[in-house]
Subunit: 191 residues, 4 copies
């Protein structure tokens, strides 16, 4: 009985993940249930409501990312750890998490995980800066934000070109002075 229930639970989560990826996060609960091969009732037995289901998926993805990130933390060169983390991210449906994070999630885990993942990565960024591979004129938190936006908000399938270009933009060229960050940033929401 437990085994069945578990199987159902993950069938539902998988179905939600798949459909949300394919058709946007507006998929209906009915469709998710059908895709999972269960009735809506079963879906609601496992997840009290739509938000809970979506948050659950997001939590799973973030946990996976946190674990991967923890495994990379401290490994040198940090630059390459960063590359591996990005590679890892692009396989996760992190795009889902954004709207959930801005929207006052029910599960406290969600912002906690975000904070944890963010600071883990910021640490790796700082390491890479210290190792001279990442331009030092970008505060680590900003660099993480840039990476995050690039990887998570840019469509379901991460765009390699974009990712590569962003990383190139962050990287310190090996054989010259770090590029000067252009001017004073002016009108943005602050540098």
């Amino acid at each position: 009985m437990r085994a069945d229930a578990l199987r159902n639970r993950s069938a539902i989560a998988d179905a939600a993940l798949r459909l949300a990826g394919e058709r946007g996060e507006a998929v209906s609960m009915e469709d998710i249930a059908r895709e999972a091969g269960v009735g809506v009732g079963t879906l609601y037995r496992h997840f009290p409501d739509r938000r809970a289901l979506l948050e659950d998926i997001a939590v799973d993805a973030l946990r996976e990312l946190r674990d991967a990130t923890r495994a990379e933390a401290g490994r040198a060169p940090a630059w390459e750890a960063l590359l591996r983390i990005v590679d890892h991210c692009v396989a996760l449906p992190l795009s889902l998490t954004k709207s959930l994070l801005t929207d006052e999630p029910e599960r406290a885990e969600l912002p906690e995980l975000e904070v944890e993942v963010t600071s883990l990565i910021a640490g790796i960024v700082a390491d890479a800066q210290r190792e001279g591979d990442l331009r030092a004129d970008v505060p680590p938190a900003e660099a993480v934000r840039v990476l995050n936006v690039a990887v998570c908000r840019c469509g379901a399938r991460a765009d390699d070109h974009l990712t590569r270009v962003v990383l190139d933009g962050l990287r310190v060229p090996k054989n010259r002075r770090p590029p000067v960050w252009r001017g004073d940033e002016g009108r943005g929401e602050g540098s």
Copy 2:
């Protein structure tokens, strides 16, 4: 009444723009009408249906961008023209246009404008490559795609840091050989 009607029309378009920006493009027509300070009926007098309203906003934004881009085309240095165009883009809600363009828009203008804007920018990119400011190993169309994704799909408020980093990634460093595009690109959907 003409003056009032015009005022209403743009109040509605503005409201739609603002709310679609803030809360995603799933805003309800009622909310848009309320935000604009009119009744739903008025909204529907000006825009026959939801799609028409959204497409209208997108067309306005694309037209503005096309005009700005035309004005920049041919100006040297192309690199700086590109910077100005990006600056222009970040103020526009181009994120809206994406789903409309993929979804078989009713208004033929929409894909036409996209093609026009895209090739105008590709021309400027090619100029910048010829002028030695933009790495030549990225095909102009790809560079435009990267910029587009960076600027249009990355949230309602464009992120200056991201933009700058992307541009830095595209730029040819002034005083050294162009960086070698890392390896063979491997697993992406093609370089």
Copy 3:
């Protein structure tokens, strides 16, 4: 000014008549106004609301029918007068009046006219029965009801075949005893 107003009024009534005939009585006020070549405001200046407009048309039609019926009353043979009245009816959009009459009309004229027209025709029917042209076993009021239903509720264009068959059913054959009305009528809503 008065002339214009009158012209507008009848343009609206005509348009309503035409459209209600063509597309059923669910035509929108906007469409009627457009067909009449005026704005909705003008329509509402002449007719306080939709019901008033429809009732007005019905009153006009009934008045015309009353006048025609008055002119026929007393003329012999009554049977032929009846034929002419039916011919007259088929040109009128009396179908409209039914729902208005059952629905508690605002204008008292409407049921009054109906009563008047009905009893005028009943008189002619009675004459025809006296003259031996119409079967005497149908109460005049019933005969009128039958004619009314046949002519008014059977579609926009009156159906000659139906009308003729109904009249043949009512007519006393010239050279034989009146047919006996079949049995006792039994289960109907009363004979």
Copy 4:
């Protein structure tokens, strides 16, 4: 639950039938649902949209009529079979079917049933003509049309008097020559 669902389905169909009969076919879905004692959602679970509901009712009515007509076909005297069929018709809300048939129904069954019922009745009419009970100068198809109009378009509750008079108009008087169809029909859409 199957039993309940079936009960609901027919409660909805019955309610729709009743209300469409009483108040015309413009009844709102909400009203139908309320009359059936269910929520709108339930209504829509059983019938995908308004048209489907109406067509369903019409199909049911036509099927019932077809079965009754088949049972009568070939029975002598055909004239009495016809009477029974008419008796049957008046109990059905066939008036609904007219607008559905003119309006390109979704369900192909609808026009098919109409053709079948129509030709079955035309056969019975022809039999009645052969048996000398129905005037031979009316083409069977026309006679069916007349009956159809009389029975179906003349209000929700069929009018016995009308029906009887129409049938009398169609009937061959037992003891005299068939009446001559009056003149040449003149201005109609052709005799």
